[in-house]
Amino acid sequence: MKHLLGILLLTGMSPALAQHDHHPAPPAPADSHARHEGSEESGHPADHALPAEPPASPPADPHAGHDRSIAPDGAGSAAHAGHEPTVADPPVSPPSPAALGGPSHAADGIFGAKEMAEARRIVRKEHGDIRVGAILIDRLEAIIRDGKDGYAWHAQGWYGGDIDRLWIKSQGEGRFGDAVEEAEVQALWSHALDPWWNLQAGIRQDIRAGTDRTYAVLGVQGLAPYWFEAGGALFLSDKGDVTARFEVDYDQRLTQKLILQPAMEVNLAAQEIPELGIGAGLSTAEVGLRLRYAFVPEVAPYVGVQYERAFGDTADVRRARGEAAGGWGLLIGIRAWF
């Protein structure tokens, strides 16, 4: 420790040292490296005035010349105080007028402005303007439940750039042997709001026996802290009723390929919608737990359980029909994307 302090002091590190004397000292080799090591630190702002050290004479052994920078770096936590090697940075400043002069595009004078303009259009597009799409079938499952086995799907697809995308969603369910009970398709414009969240707006079309409805949709979808995939949307129907839906799920990797996914969905209504059997307030909620095995990331069959039930007036409607307000289901399905 003592000789480390000596080296630091000799090379003008005392201001930084004063702030850092509580650091555990890395071992300081007491050899010819010391000279270099000292010069590492002269970039501390306090040493601005120090002349840059000339390089040491050629090293006598193959390991000399590479210092192990014995002093703690990160001298201070101000934005640039930790920038340690040698001469302090000169001020950040804009380019000189001479740098701004001359032709805008150097190659125009050699190959012609017209040909270069087309090449510039391409090079610009090829460095950031990527448009791609994907289709994700999040759930395609059979639901085994008391006496009325059924099926359900949940899928989405998108195409576009980083910020704006066309986003299509579809979900629905039915019972084996019957017509589709309810199905919906949403066509949305998706706009990135921040690194993780997208604003989504568009229309939703429901297809169900006798009660087709069209909605305006406004929602968000994205990734919440702790890696929760989440989304929420408000729906305003052409009949004037307002409903909302919130969804969240989480992928817990048990192994690289075995993934346990708890998921939850809640549906709300601002008013009663008798023709759909929906009461005001919390109408239905669903929790599921799916265990999938990703043979490849794109294809993952799963088994799971879910509990779904209705609340309030919605539950009453179900009971009036002779149904239970809620119940368990066993799930067998597949998740896939491409």
């Binding site: 890395p26 270099h36 010069s39 590492e40 050290e53 000339p54 390089p55 050629p58 090293p59 193959p62 390991h63 590479h66 210092d67 192990r68 920078s69 014995i70 770096d73 990160g74 201070g76 930790g82 920038h83 340690e84 090697p85 040698t86 001469v87 940075d89 000169p90 950040v92 400043s93 380019p95 000189s96 740098a99 002069g101 001359g102 150097a106 190659a107 050699i110 190959f111 040909e115 090449a119 391409i122 090079v123 610009r124 460095h127 950031g128 303007d129 791609v132 994907a134 980083d162 990135a192 921040d194 690194p195 993780w196 990734l223 802290p225 817990q252 048990l254 192994t255 690289q256 990331p297």
Partner: protein, 601 residues
Amino acid sequence: MTQAMERRSFLQAGALGLAGLGMTSLMPAWARTGSAGIVPAMPTVSGDDIHLTIAHTAFTVGGRTGHAVTVNGVLPAPLIRLREGQTVRLHVDNRLDEDSSIHWHGLIVPFQMDGVPGLSFPGIKPRTTFVYEFPVRQSGTYWYHSHSGLQEQQGHYGPLVIDPAEPDPVAYDREHVIVLSDWTFLHPHRLIAKLKTEGGYFNRQKQTLLGARKSGAEETMSAADRAMWGRMRMDPTDIADVTAATYTYLVNGHGPAENWTGLFRPGERVRLRIINAAAMTIFNLRIPGLPMTVVSADGQNVRPVTVDEFQIGNAETYDVIVQPTEDKAFTLVAESIDRSGMGRATLAPRLGMTAPVPPLRPRPTLTMRDMGMGGMDHGAMAGGTHGAMAGMDHGAMAGDGAPEADHGSAHSMSGRSMRDTSKVPDGMKAGVGVDAIAMAPVDRTGDPGIGLDDVGHKVLTYRDLMALAPNPDQRPPLRTVEVHLTGNMERFMWSFDGEKFSEGVEPIRFERNERARVVLINDTMMTHPIHLHGHFFELVNGHTGSYPRKHTVNVLPGGKASFDLTADAPGDWAFHCHLLLHMHAGMFRVVTVRPLDGEAA
């Protein structure tokens, strides 16, 4: 640009420790030994008129055949062997149905010969020939590759070696060119589509619940730290975007099973010219049992430094001397930075000999330092705890955990934002494409690279490098240009200063011959090899006046690297991350140097 090499002082230094051999290489070794050392022979082209043909070719590795874009029908492209002082004409015939190009990586050429479509020239249209012509003003190990689309990922790259006009200060009896690369049977556009859909698609080494219960170096992260990473929506195992899940790592176009073999006679000094021509892979290179003396970095001679391993970023080159004395084989291991796979080759006295292939080491995990909080840690976080001596590490910044130090930091961090936009300078846009901002980035030129802090042997750091000759321009820089390296891992967006090149950004402008410092601040949690065309810059690493001169610098996650630049090459130049898909995603800028030749100054 002058390549003033003080060869005399080099020889006096005797720095290679090769007393007596210094002057034997008046003739380049390859000319003396022919290709005897290279098995199978690497196709070579040389002379003043060189003809290259870009075309579609089948490429076979690991028993499977795929589609490649190649030069003269081989992968890697033929070795171009030039001599300093000659003027070379390269006739490049594009037989593809799309535009192509060749960029001479690291060569100091007039801007219109630099080969970047849209900047230097219009590109080479389908079924046309473009003739590059330029004087060769330097020597060393370089390479060349397409700068069009994603052709580089498809095989369009090859080595380029220039012999010095004067006797080579590096003495060697034999040489091998080692081209490292990554091959996939997926079309590169599929790579992008997968990554845009799922940023961690190719990472098959994520943290898992069962993995956390196993012992093992990579699973030592505490629950609190895992929670903190989760809160930031960051994955501490996200080390490489594209991994061995799809890649076969190649050495001179050979997969690990094909085992490219370079020959030597015991006792010979063998010069390995190692080029990282991979599209998306940073490699950790070592030859177990054989220390390597680094004599050149990015084609520029450095004072010899002996190491056991080094990390090589995309587009970097290192020349090393090895001197195997025994009649036995050695395995050259090029492990990908995330340790999902390796390239493997053999150095042996006779063909058919092999050495054991070491298993992959445990995958590294990112630390607080990689998060850009190096300047806030209160431990032995100095850049240089990883000295030459095994066991002297303190582990406080180790890739594999360092429970105490990380723990403390994690707690002190819990109330802070990882994306404090008040830290953002005026010129930067912290929008959708910026998922993190380094709070207290520190210079990381003293770090050996992710996962290499505690490997038990000497690993090269940038601070080990000193130019052999004094730096040609010793003026202090008069202004600083800051460039933030920015990204969004989840959306696979990459940019400088938060703006993709496609958004129509302003160039970075320099006055001709001005001396400026460029500070690269890595706000992301990935290592980015940043390349400036048309220039060598001096990497600010503490050795004032003897900074290593480079064309590409690896900037470690959450850290900084600075270089001093003499903007002596008039024209428009590309400046970009050399991870091909990062560049393609927008991590690209134009650097202009004015006035041009013939303009009134």
